[in-house]
Structure formats: C-alpha cells, structure tokens
Symmetry: C2
Subunit: 499 residues, 2 copies
C-alpha cells in the first residue's frame, strides 16, 4: 500500500523533465493549449484559498475529452502527478498545484448537453457553472438545488469533487444527494460510469464514494444532476435574540417541531453589524444573534409554516420576529447573509474562514466555547453559518502584518475544529479538506481508518499520481503533527514505528 504521497509532494518526486513532457504533449496533441512560462503560470498558483501558493510545472486547458484521456495516459507513463481544477473557487486548497505536476483545468468543458424536464435531470460537462444549470432549467420551472455562495462562478465538476453544500442543503441535501451519474476518467485514462439514471445503482456505491473525493480518484468528464420543481412560494422570517446560545437553541427547536426550512442561517453580532454597514439589509444591529429562516413550497403551506415557526421562535425567547413584507425585502435579508464574508472582510485586514460541523443540539455549548477561545487568543471571531445543518463558519479576524497573529489565528482555528470533533462533529461541512485541513484529519480519524482511506485511494489510483498530498494525510504526517487520534487507548497501527 502506498502511503508516501506527502513525501512525493515534499520533494522526492521523480525529477520530471518539464521539457520532455512538454514535447511529448505537443507532439501527440498539437491542438492542446498548454501554459508553461512563469507569467502564464502565475494566475494558477492558488485556488480560492490564497494562503497556499505553488506554481505548477505546466497548466493544460483541454477542450475535448479525448485530450484529457491522452494527457492522463502520457502523465501516467511518465509518472507525472496531475491536479484537476474546475473554476478554482475552492476554499480548502483542493486544487493547489504541485511544483512538479500538471494542473489540468477543466473549465472549458462548459456545455449543457441535455435538459430533460420529464426525467427531471440535466446532463452537463464538468466546467458548467452551478448557477448556469438552474438558469438553463428555469424555462421548465425547474432548478438545481445545491447552492454554494460561489454559485455564480463555481463549476459543477468542482461541486462534485468537494460535495459542495449551500443554504438550501438543509432541506434538499448536499451535492451527493442531487446526483444521478458521473462519467469519469481513471488516472490511466480509462472511461468509467458511476451511478445510473434510476434509483440506486447495484454493487458498491462508487458514485457516493467518488463525490467529495477531491480529485484523488479520477477526473470528472460529465455530470448528470437531478432537477427539482421551483417552489411556488418562498418567505423568510428574521428573528433577533439577546444571546447566541438562545438563537442556537431555537435552531434545534424549529427542526424538533417537524419543520424543515428551505434555509436556516445564523449570524452573530459582529457579523450582523458588518453586513448591515455593507449592505443595509435592515438587520437589528443591537441583537446578539439573528436567525434567517426561509420556508418554501406551496403558498398555503408556506403561510402555515411561517406561523408555526414564528411561535417556536417566540417561545425560544426571540426579542423580535419579522417577516419580509415583500420579495424585495426577502432578497435584501438574504443579500446581507450572502455578502457576510466580504462584509466581515472590511473589518479586518485578514480573516480565516472555518468550516466545522456539529450535531445541532451542541450549537449553544460550542458557540459559548468559541467565545471563550476568542477571548483567550485575543482575536475577534464572527459567526455566520448554516445553523440548520450544524455547519459552522466561524471567521477569525486577524492582521497578517502583526507578528504572531497569523500563527495565533491558525492555532485558534485548529482548536475550534478539534472542539467540533470532540462533540461528535467533523472538521469540514462543505469546503473540503484539501491541503488546508490535512493535519486536522489526524484528529478526526484513527490510523486504521486512514489506512483504509489510502487502500481505497490505491484501488482507484495505485500510482498515487492524482492530486497527491491532499485530503488524506499519511500516518507519517500525523505522527509529525503529533495529533494522532488515539483509538481504544493505543496507536492501532504498529507500522508507524517504521517512520
């Protein structure tokens, strides 16, 4: 079993001759667009997580699946690692290039191949933008439900690779719940189909395994997504609270009442003020926390649900409950939330966005603990998040130019993620592990579990050439990080001694 990905990334990769590779690619695919000069490569040195940067050896921008197939075969023969990239909007460095690797940009595969209103699916190329699918389906009264905040820009291929979420995932599920089929290429350029157009494919559920695998198992060449009918009506309630814990408890109360809102989001005072200053959404700036709760469906049901949610919120101690009086106000309420990250960005030179998930009932306690950690590390933390599904996005504010603040921010972030794991949650809800959270994976999983991840990786990619150094840490890395998850009171993997 190959567990040496990091070593390769860290410099012991076979010394690939860039020019030999370039020559082979040009000979076999004269039409393939290849970037190889420093100034051309520069824009590709990071994805949405700009704290990590590496200039790739080469960038290729294919337009035909056959080119991708041939590229993978050539790279496989020459033992060159390949990092697939969609729109480059990812927030965990999943598409961070390798100095000795090829960055495979799939953005030009941007055709919508089929919209089937009767079958309620769309078949699209991987570079199609998330929002473009809903726009293409709109004339049929349909849409694609998962809606990451980056949906204007991010591509469906990247969404599949990261199992992207969004405001509506509480009710409509993550990317994995909205897929029918993925066409992919293996590391050596073989075509495979995962899933099918009907309910539940037999054999192992490779479609679910592949979704969220962060480019480590194959390259996506086509995606068939489910489309849903657009809800007839959507209304939003804004509730203010005088403590974040009360707001956290109200979230659980709404779900416990048997209501699944279309979206259920929370912001704390720092985030409320930042958003209000930036967007003028009409938020109550004195509130310690607000909840935004959207109900969608048939008009009569929505009205009914709004009344029930209002009662739950009042019982939970809301100081104010307001329903957006018209569509314009509804859009304004959401604009504040959707622009909360850039709004918080105006408060501080830098911020670090976390992405932990926790069981919903742990919200009050974890919010309190984050406030305590914030005081301890002397760094402000703004909370803006998908409260309904327990997916938190604490934003740690810092100034990278003040010595020590970046380190303190990273340490605080690590503590918050460990807290999430401790209460039975996870270190990432929708942004992925990528390069960013690879050390925290050591806290989340045991050595046996990581070994199994590596074995599954090897089943798809025995050569370890697809996006090495992301998502799954080596046991070596975990030992160095010093945070090996201890299972049943002992390190369960004796081979660790070898390192």
């Amino acid at each position: 079993m190959n567990i040496l990905y990091d070593e390769r990334v860290d410099g012991v990769l076979p010394a690939t001759d860039k020019h030999a590779l370039l020559q082979a690619l040009r000979e076999q695919m004269p039409d393939l667009e290849i970037l190889h000069c420093q100034e051309e490569l520069k824009p590709y040195e990071c994805d949405g997580l700009s704290a990590y940067r590496t200039t790739p050896m080469l960038v290729v921008l294919p337009r035909e699946i056959e080119q991708v197939e041939k590229l993978l075969k050539i790279c496989h023969q020459q033992r060159v690692p390949v990092v697939p990239r969609g729109a480059g909007t990812g927030l965990s460095g999943g598409a961070l290039p390798l100095e000795k690797g090829v960055l495979l940009v799939m953005a030009r595969f941007n055709k919508i191949l089929e919209i089937d209103p009767a079958g309620r699916f769309a078949r699209v190329q991987p570079g199609v933008r998330n929002l473009a699918i809903s726009q293409a389906a709109a004339p049929h009264g349909l849409y694609y439900a998962p809606d990451p905040s980056s949906q204007i820009a991010c591509s469906i291929g990247g969404n599949v690779a990261e199992n992207a979420g969004g405001v509506h995932c509480l009710k409509y599920g993550l990317t994995v719940h909205n897929l029918l089929k993925v066409e992919m290429l293996t590391v050596d350029g073989e075509r495979l189909t995962l899933g099918c157009n009907a309910l539940d494919s037999p054999g192992f559920d490779l479609l679910a395994l592949f979704t969220g695998s962060e480019g480590m198992l194959g390259v996506i060449t086509e995606v068939t997504v489910k489309l849903l009918p657009k809800p007839q009506s959507a209304k939003v309630l804004l509730a203010a609270f005088d403590s974040v814990e009360k707001a956290g408890r109200a979230v659980g109360d709404i779900i416990a009442a048997g209501i699944i809102p279309g979206g259920l989001e929370m912001m704390d005072n720092l985030a409320i003020r930042a958003a209000e200053d930036f967007i003028h959404a009409g938020y109550p700036v004195d509130a310690e926390a607000i909840l935004l709760c959207e109900l969608d469906g048939v008009e009569a049901d929505v009205d009914d649900d709004c009344e029930r949610v209002r009662r739950v919120l009042e019982q939970a101690g809301a100081t104010e409950v307001r329903q957006a009086k018209d569509e314009a106000e509804r859009v304004r309420f959401w604009a504040g939330r959707k622009n909360a990250f850039p709004a918080v960005g105006r408060l501080s030179p830098d911020y670090y966005c976390m992405d932990g998930t926790i069981p919903r009932r742990e919200l009050p306690g974890v919010l309190r603990a984050i406030a305590e950690l914030s005081a301890e590390y002397n760094l402000r933390v703004a909370n803006v998040f998908h409260a309904g599904d327990g997916n938190m996005h604490p934003l740690i504010l810092f100034d990278a130019n003040t010595p020590g603040e970046l380190d303190r921010a990273e340490a605080l972030g690590g503590k918050i993620l460990e807290l999430c794991v401790k209460v039975g949650g996870s270190i990432t809800g929708e942004h992925g592990v990528g390069r960013e959270k690879i050390n925290q994976m050591c806290a989340q999983f045991s050595g046996d579990e990581l070994t199994l991840f590596h074995a599954v990786k090897a089943a798809f990619d025995p050569s370890g050439l697809l996006n090495p150094g992301k998502n799954i840490p080596t046991l070596h890395r975990c030992a160095e990080f010093g945070a090996m998850h201890v299972h049943m009171g002992q390190l369960p993997f004796p081979e660790l001694e070898r390192f």
Copy 2:
C-alpha cells in the same frame, strides 16, 4: 488484485479442517454458541431466497462484540470464509452460506443502546428489528423512516448491508440517507467507525460505500440511525385506470407537479384481483391498474395536496379516484398492497420476484414490454411496485413441477432486468445482488467497472474471505455467462484472455 472469489466458492477453497476450527473456537471462546451438527445447520441453509441452499460448515451465534472480534481473527488466521447474517429475510441470497465457511449470525445483538430525542437519532445493535426502532422512538413522537415490507422481522444490520428501501423511501430516502454512523469490524477483527453524528464526514464517504455492500467489506457491530418526527396526518388516495400505461404516466405527472408523496405504489389487474381475494381491501377488481398515493405531513398541507393529486390523477385519465374515508380504510388500502406478494403466491405454485429500477418516465414503455415478454414466454406476470421511485417488482408466476417452467421463468426474469438496464435503470432497487443477480451484474457493468469493484473490495478485505461469491462477479464468471457488457465497442480488459 484478487478476482478469484468464485473459484474459491466453487470448490478450490483451502480444505479447512472443520474439527480443527471447532476446537480452536471452543478453546478460545468456551461461551460462544456454535452449531455444527447437520440437523442444527439445516435451518440456516438459506435466507429469504429459498431457491438457493447450502449447508454451512459451522454456524456461530455470538452475544458479545469481543466474540465476533476473536472469531474474525481466528477465521482470518485459518483462511476460513465468513458469511455475516442478520435476520435472514434477504431476498437475493446475500446471506447464502458456504459449504466451507462460517455463518456468523448477528441476530442476538438486539439491544437498543440509546434513543436521543433532541439529537433525533437512535444508536442500536445490528440485530435490532427495523420496526423495533420505530416502536422505541414512538413515545418521543419519532420514527425510523425506511420501511421494507419485512420490517417486523428484518434487522437493521441487514438493512444497512442491503441498503434496504420500502414504501416511504420515495419521500424519505433509502437506508443510506437515514444513517449517521456505523461501527464495524474488518475481516481481521479491527474496529472502525464510519460516518459521524454531524452532517457529512470528511475524507472519502466510506459510510455510503459500506451501505449496501452486502457483507463483503466488514461486519456491522453498531448502527446510529436518524429519527424523524411522525407526520401529524396521513391520507391515501386510490386511483383506478383502464390501462397500465396510463397509470405509469400518472406517476410521472404527480412528481412533475412538485408533490413528493409519502408513498406512491402501483398494482396491475392480476395483483389487484389476487390482493382483493385475499385481503378484501375494497380494490376495484375490473381496473387494469391502481395507484395508491399517500400524502403525509401537517393536516392542512395534506388536505391541500390530496386535492392537487386528485386533479392530476383525473387529468391523467383515472376512471375513479377515491380517498380513504377514515383511518380504518386507509389501513385496509395498504394491507392489500403489503400482502400482495403472499396474495399472488396463492395464484400459482411458485413465483419469482424481480427488483429492477428504471427512470420514472420509462414506466409506460417498460410495462408494455413486460406484457409482451409475458406473452412470448407464456408465463403470467403480476406487477406490484414502488412506482414513485421507479422500483419495479414484477412477479413471474410459474410451476416448478412443470418441466421447463423454472428455466423459462429465470430466462424471462433475466430479460426484464436487461430491459431495465437498457432504459438506463438497474438490476436491483432494494433487494440487493447477492447470489441471485450476480450474472446480471455482467450486463450492468463493464470489465473496468467490475475490476474497480474488486479493487475496492480488496482495499477492505485483501484476503477475500468476507462473503465471497456474492454481489460482484469475477470477469471469468461474466465471460462464461456470455453477457459481458461491451464498452466502447470492445472488451476493455485484456486479462480476460487468460481464463
């Protein structure tokens, strides 16, 4: 890569000394209940698919996880295959024993460990019956949604192994969508945790991969399932049609109207008459097909949805639409459906139950094609199925004592499943592949895809000792079956030549 599972099953397994194994087990676990005499083994020779029977070498009935752990370690050392079994209600022979293997019965692990009404989950041992979970959750107004027809008897461990479905899975998802966490033992007795108590676990989605893996990847020792609030109200509509195609089309129309019923079931004339004779449910026996459509939720919403569905059904050409006038009639309507299999069993000495899924919009065409195949093979076929999610259960009626009829029934069944694959569906919706449909997997998947399945199996179980010969056919078997899926115009796996 190991692709020789079948060969092992077919007789080239290492000649295990039954008495040596028995002795080792008794020495190390004096308290472990072991069955080894012919008359004790007999009741375990098949699961719910009684057409396949094999007497196991030994049956073990552990009561402690530590016993299972030790058993797996001993069997692994001695290279003895292990077949895990839950309640033995499976319909595809997934728990069919091996002559030279141990049958590991998990039925005695029947404790409900925790019901958490706030966190909305139940943590249970694998032998707990499906219905027992809902019964235990009922005092909190909660229930576990997936409801296979066998829910009185089948166990949650078996449900996870088969990714079981049921009437309510259209709205509430399959088993995989209602799980939070699985504790398991690997083939060599190591403990692993898959999933977590919060939304979306990082790393590869091994929980989804494991769900439906039919006992080939590990032995389940604990399951944490999601609980849902019981709907306030449930009402059912019965619609009669003068053709199965019209009924099939109405199914798509209901979903296209943006309504997701709690259940949406279809029965054809043969099934209607059989059920009516048996249960006196009040079905219209002259109808060519009926649909049963249940709407559940808040009272006002349900009434509203009933009206909308009624209009859709009338527009789709229903000759009659009736709403169950009270709870007693609702229960009677469902009793007819839930007893349709035994009812059809009264029409014919034998029947063969299929389990294909198809895209919903293909229902009218596939139902017509099944009628044509039925005439061609001169065997009656009754259709009773989860129409809403395109999961068909054609029941082929035959008499095993009439020479040739069993063969004809199997051939007709094979044709129906191939038809499902052809229209973009799959060979199993909820009953699993097991031993029964292993040949049809050759039609469903390419050689590359099967090779990947074997590689994933080897990642969990390199020795191939867990439930060999089920679920994933060897390429050798597919070549012999003569139905190798031809991908891109050629057999993609050159090693096939070797056999």
